[in-house]
């Protein structure tokens, strides 16, 4: 197991290097530069800006300079938000996205697992149809439709919740964005749970457990739940990484200062360092979560051993 962990950790390095290299050259291929505006800069000022941010060097020189900076844990200064460094922007944006994303995932897991299990146990009944219809709706309706609708209802018409902003000390600001972010996840998890649970419930060892006369609750908790979780855990790895690194749509609609908006605004503003910083951070999280999923597999499935 330890050998496996070390091997996987070492395997992350070339993956990350590929991500960094691709992101570095791709963002520079996009037309336009970080300092292009509808006003034209005098040549001397343009030269000085290029010099200040090392854009006057060859691409390879810039690349190796960036790698050296990264080794020291420095993502560099933001080209667009000139009073801040990329590290500072990630430090302020990530805790917000993390809190929002984790809350949404916990809610999605609790509700999604319960609904999925209920649907599997009551297969082809009205309860099953209701849960599946809800799931289908949740998967089909995008965030940018459901979020403004909930906002209009709860913030504008009923005046129960705030219409935007983020204050972790005021839970009321968190409710709507968490709910909107969790809804599609609930739908996915419920569908996955239902399918997986039905498959497990039809397996021989569960049939044996029923034949032995074990109570339903015991069969579910002791024998059915762990194997049911396998496909959900595979889904949870990348999904959690995606959700905690920020949802652009939710952050925009609710004016939340998370990481997702930096990614999109960074790309639009050609803020090379900010885009690179967020891509690397996101890549690292995806790799880490996939790694954790693989380790969880060993615990959940007795057939998997490292």
């Amino acid at each position: 197991m330890l050998r496996y962990i070390i091997k996987r950790l070492l395997g992350m390095i070339p993956t990350l290097l590929v991500i960094i290299t691709l992101a570095f050259f791709l963002i520079r291929l996009a037309p336009g530069g970080p300092f292009d505006t509808d006003k034209t800069l005098p040549e001397e000022i343009q030269l000085n800006l290029d010099k200040k941010y090392h854009l006057d060097e060859s691409l390879l020189q810039q690349y190796f300079r960036y790698l050296w900076q990264l080794l020291q844990g420095d993502f560099g200064p933001s080209f667009h938000y000139q009073d801040y460094s990329v590290n500072e922007l990630i430090e302020t944006g990530f805790p917000v996205s993390l809190q929002l994303g984790l809350s949404a995932m916990i809610l999605a897991l609790l509700v999604g697992l319960s609904l999925g299990t209920l649907a599997a146990l009551k297969q082809n009944t009205s309860a099953d149809h209701l849960v599946m219809s809800f799931s289908m709706t949740g998967v089909s309706i995008p965030n940018f439709v459901i979020a403004p609708l909930l906002l209009l209802l709860f913030a504008v018409h009923l005046d129960w919740l705030p219409a935007g902003g983020w204050d972790s000390s005021r839970p009321s600001t968190i409710i709507l964005p968490v709910l909107c972010l969790a809804l599609p996840q609930i739908a996915y998890i419920a569908r996955l749970t239902r399918a997986s649970m039905i498959e497990v419930l039809h397996s021989n060892y569960i049939r044996t457990a029923f034949a032995k006369g074990l109570p339903m609750r015991l069969i579910l908790m002791r024998h059915a739940l762990k194997p049911t979780l396998l496909p959900i855990v595979s889904y949870l790895g990348p999904a959690t990484a995606g959700v905690i690194t920020g949802s652009v749509v939710i952050e925009k609609i609710f004016s939340i200062p998370g990481l997702g908006r930096f990614f999109v605004l960074g790309a639009l503003n050609r803020d090379y360092t900010l885009v690179m910083g967020v891509v690397i951070f996101y890549g690292l999280l995806i790799i880490l979560f996939n790694f954790i999923v693989d380790l969880l597999y060993a615990w959940l499935d007795p057939k998997v051993r490292y």
């Binding site: 001397e44 000022i45 000139q82 219409a163 902003g165 200062p257 503003n269």
Partner: protein, 535 residues
């Protein structure tokens, strides 16, 4: 007297006093807690007056800093840090006398040296300011920006702590107006030197305006608190200002309706009708110093050396329909380049602007044929615009008007902002949408855009007569003669049709009825110190 009655009266008196005290405390607390919450568009790039770009940063800087000249709520120029000034007969030497009671938020006096330091910093190429050319009228500024001279040679000098002398390259009638621009604000030299490019952050910021920066959470909010050391603080009534960076105007509208914002940055155009119906009393529209236009690339076919074609296209669109039905927000149809209400200027128009629609379209068709095009040989043209629902709607309307009136086949190209800018600068365009918002209230701010050597002349317009009129206006001392030169220049340019004005901008925002002191003005400059809340 009955003891019980005395006790009753005493109790009533006490209750009355308590009520009075409570009411008094409530009202004084309300008065002390005047908080204004403003929607402010995109997140500011920087709050360093020399690095910031865009309207959202300027809105905040206007509260944080004060330049030599300030503005009244109606946009009229009034003394700022300078209590008075003198201009010599040549119109090139200005002497500003500063208020001795003007202070920085840390208590240091605001001196002429702070202005000298700030202005030398912005023109220094090492600062890398995109707005360095705002100070171009000052002696040697251009040479310093180009790296040919040292910043210390800039035509600005502190005669003593409270007297500032400024020497210009030539008479510049709009120079005082230019001094309201955020790039001309003073800087607290000690703070800038100590904290470098982080001096503008809340933990270090030292400012000389009515407010000081106390909190800045990127993409969340910016909080300003009243600067008790500001020389005019006694008149300031709003204690705290929240600036919310909200790019999405639908989100902003929802937050406004939920009572979380008192004053919006704009409105979502697709909800204009709903707003007019439901929030009419809170909806404010004011003329704005900007023109929305379509540029023709004059360096390439089909528009190169084909004035008749450009004129035909310019005449074929119905600006009234675009302003009323497409944008529909009170925009003013544009038949000229410089908007109305510009100081000391008579707005110019195309000679045919009062022609009735049928005659105008007939004339457009005639010109189109003379230009070598017909229904069997139609013009096929690319029109580029940057991603925006509004630009898309206008582009569709214009292309349909061209098609209906002349039979033109338009290929619409929607491009992301930076790609669009790059294509425009490299002149890879045929026709493109654009807009120009003036930095100062003077016709020259518009006229210079079409000067042959100007960096943003993306149409490639080059007319020596036009250039010559602009050069003459730059050295003309008599304001009336200067005005005539600029008006003549605009007429010359309009007759060449290098671009097609579509409409003049207006500002549109929602303001809660309890916000007082707001007045629409052509520059859209609003100072929180002039506002208060009546609630």
């Amino acid at each position: 007297m009955n003891i019980q009655l005395v006790q009753q009266k005493f109790t009533i008196c006490i209750l009355f006093l308590i009520t009075l005290l409570w009411v008094g405390m409530t009202f004084s607390a309300a008065a002390a807690e005047q908080i204004l919450r403003k929607g402010n568009g995109p997140e500011p790039q920087s709050l360093d007056p020399h690095q910031s770009q865009g309207v959202s940063a300027s809105n905040i800087l206007r509260d944080l800093y004060e330049g030599l000249i300030s503005e009244a709520p109606n946009g009229e120029l009034i003394p700022g840090v300078a209590k008075r000034w003198q201009i010599d007969e040549s119109g090139t030497h200005y002497t500003f006398y500063l208020r001795e009671q003007a202070k920085w938020s840390n208590g240091d006096p605001v001196t002429a040296h702070d202005f000298v330091y700030s202005w030398r910093r912005i023109v220094n190429p090492q600062t890398g300011s995109a707005y360095a050319q705002t100070l171009a009228p000052i002696l040697n500024a251009n040479a310093i920006i180009q790296g040919e001279k040292d910043p210390t040679t800039l035509g600005v000098q502190a005669l003593d702590d409270f007297t500032l002398a400024v020497k210009l390259q030539g008479p510049t009638p709009y120079f005082l107006g230019l001094l309201t621009h955020s790039t001309t604000y003073p800087l607290h030299a000690v703070t800038v030197k100590k904290y470098g490019n982080k001096f503008a952050r809340a933990e270090h910021s030292v400012s000389n305006g009515a407010y000081q920066l106390t909190e800045w959470v990127v993409q969340s909010h910016i909080i300003l608190k009243r600067n008790s050391r500001y020389w005019g603080d006694a008149k300031t009534r709003i204690h705290t200002v929240y600036y919310y960076p909200i790019e999405d105007q639908s989100t902003e509208l929802k937050r406004y309706r939920a009572g979380e914002i008192d004053l919006t940055y704009g409105i979502p155009l697709n909800q204009y009708k709903w707003i007019k119906k439901h929030l009419a009393k809170e909806f404010h529209v004011a003329p704005y110093l900007g023109t929305y236009y379509y540029g023709f690339n004059l360096t390439k076919p089909p528009f190169k050396d084909n004035k008749k074609l450009r004129q035909a296209l310019t005449m074929a669109i119905d600006r009234e329909i675009i302003a009323e039905k497409v944008t529909g927000g009170g925009e003013i149809p544009a038949y000229g380049w410089v908007p109305p209400r510009v100081l000391n200027y008579q707005a110019q128009t195309f000679a045919w602007h009062k022609m009735d629609k049928t005659t105008r379209l007939a004339e457009a068709r005639k010109l189109y044929h003379q230009a070598g095009y017909s229904k069997t040989n139609p013009l096929v043209v690319e029109v580029r615009y940057n991603t925006s629902e509004n630009h898309k709607k206008i582009a569709l309307a214009i292309s349909s008007m061209w098609k209906k009136a002349l039979g033109v086949r338009v290929k619409l190209l929607n491009e992301e902002w930076k790609v669009f800018l790059a294509n425009r600068k490299q002149k890879l365009t045929q026709a493109f949408r654009s807009g120009w918002i003036a930095d100062y209230n003077d016709a020259f701010s518009f006229a210079e855009l079409l000067y042959s050597q100007h960096g943003i002349n993306d149409t490639g317009y080059n007319n020596s007569d036009y250039d010559s009129l602009l050069k003459q206006s730059a050295i003309e001392k008599d304001p009336n003669k200067r005005r005539q030169l600029l008006e003549q220049a605009e007429q010359t340019m309009l007759a060449d049709y290098p671009m097609m004005p579509v409409y003049f901008y207006v500002t549109k925002r929602l303001i809660k009825p309890y916000v007082r002191g707001y007045q629409g003005n052509i520059m859209d400059h609003h100072y929180t110190k002039n506002m208060h809340l009546a609630k």
